[in-house]
């Protein structure tokens, strides 16, 4: 009973997955603004980007714990596992300040994106 339902679930899960694999070909890559997380602090903690155009942050987590890059104003939630690197894609931003944090260590992991 349970195994057959899991089979059915996984079959259902395959449909959107396969649709998205088709879309995978048009992915984009490239170097972004390097930001490092160490001792639950971002370096640099103030990140300057050009306003009104997309930008990319390449976040390297040098800590032993995973972290979630979280910002409601940037509309980003991205988990970066420990000793790993993650791409944080930023949408075109109107000029202004956009605070972000590491959700799992918010006491110290704070930063701001400045679009200008």
């Amino acid at each position: 009973m349970l195994t057959s339902s899991i089979m059915r679930w996984s079959r259902m899960a395959l449909l959107p997955a396969s649709l998205l694999i088709v879309a995978a070909g048009c992915g984009n890559d490239g170097g972004g603004i390097p930001v490092t997380l160490k001792n639950h602090r971002f370096t640099p903690a103030v990140i300057h980007v050009k306003a009104n155009q997309p930008s990319l942050i390449t976040l390297t987590n040098d800590d032993d714990a995973a972290e979630e890059f979280d910002s409601s104003s940037l509309k980003v939630e991205k988990v970066v596992p420990s000793h790993d690197t993650g791409n944080v894609r930023l949408r075109p931003l109107a000029p202004g300040k956009y605070p972000f944090m590491g959700e799992y260590h918010a006491e110290t992991a704070q930063g701001v994106v400045i679009a200008e």
Partner: protein, 283 residues
């Protein structure tokens, strides 16, 4: 310890509210507890897998694997919620009239339960994997702070479960005649919010690049993230009805299209049943 409590509470609430709605929406359907339990267990197992392979998942799709994965499982949940609502539109009234003994209705009901179990599984998987990663990070640090954080996590779990239970009991206190319309409405908005969230993930993955300008910004009244009580309320509304403090055109379009699609399909199913095979009225 307080930080751990808050983080776990926030994640548990997000999954718990969805489980609460599903349980309220299936009140009176046989075997619903078993299916919801399957969903929770599968979600927890999935959460551990996703947490364990977080790095590998992230590296797919040119580093956007996490976003694509989240968008896919949200899309799956939207389809399942739609299926359930359309099924309810056809059978809800019969069930309210205590005709659930009819064999066909029960087996169709079981399919609808399976759909909702998938939704529960997806919710538990998404929020659970974050909790697992967070707690694993703490546990690996060890020591007394680790123990304090873990007990904070346990308290957060209990508090989140209690608040979700409160919402469930609030919902099922609604008179049975009205409960189905309330839960159908809630499920419609839940699905619309998930669709909008899926679009957001596709934007962050770089696959959707249109209509990205924010239409308005109400974060000064009710932020949908961050710290504090108002942010928590905003986040709960985000989970329940897809509230976004500053939605862009693509997010709003996905939201409205999902609402229209679900309402339209429900109407179509209702009229199909009315004209096709008339349901005998109970004496």
């Amino acid at each position: 310890m307080l930080a751990a409590l808050i983080i776990v509470f926030r994640e548990v609430i997000e999954a718990g509210l969805i489980v609460g709605i599903v349980l309220a929406a299936t009140k009176g359907v046989p075997h619903r507890g078993r299916w919801v339990a399957y969903g929770v267990v599968a979600g927890l197992l999935g959460a551990c897998l996703v947490a364990a392979f977080a790095g590998q998942i992230a590296n797919l799709f040119s580093g956007s694997g996490q976003e694509v994965f989240n968008a896919s499982i949200l899309a799956l949940a939207v389809v399942m919620l739609t299926w359930h609502n359309v099924w309810m539109a056809g059978h809800g009234r019969e069930m309210a009239r205590q005709l659930r003994g009819v064999g066909a209705a029960v087996s169709a009901g079981e399919q609808s339960l399976m759909a909702l179990a998938v939704v529960v599984g997806v919710a538990v998987l998404r929020e659970g994997s974050e909790v697992v990663l967070f707690l694993y990070g703490i546990a690996s640090q060890g020591g007394t702070t680790g123990m304090g954080m873990l007990s904070g996590g346990a308290l957060g779990l209990a508090a989140g479960a209690a608040l979700s239970a409160l919402m469930y009991f609030g919902l099922v206190a609604i008179p049975p005649g009205k409960l189905f319309s309330v839960t159908s409405g809630l499920i419609t908005l839940l699905a619309a919010g998930m669709a909008s969230q899926a679009v957001l993930f596709l934007q962050n993955a770089g696959y959707v690049n249109v209509l990205m300008r924010n239409l308005w910004d109400t974060s000064w009244i009710l932020p949908d993230g961050g710290e504090g009580v108002r942010a928590l309320i905003g986040k709960m509304l985000h989970t329940l009805v897809g509230y976004s403090a500053a939605p862009d055109g693509a997010q709003l379009l996905a939201y409205l299209a999902t609402v229209l699609a679900i309402v339209g399909l429900m109407r179509w199913e209702r009229s199909r049943r009315r004209s096709g095979h008339a349901v005998p009225k109970p004496a």
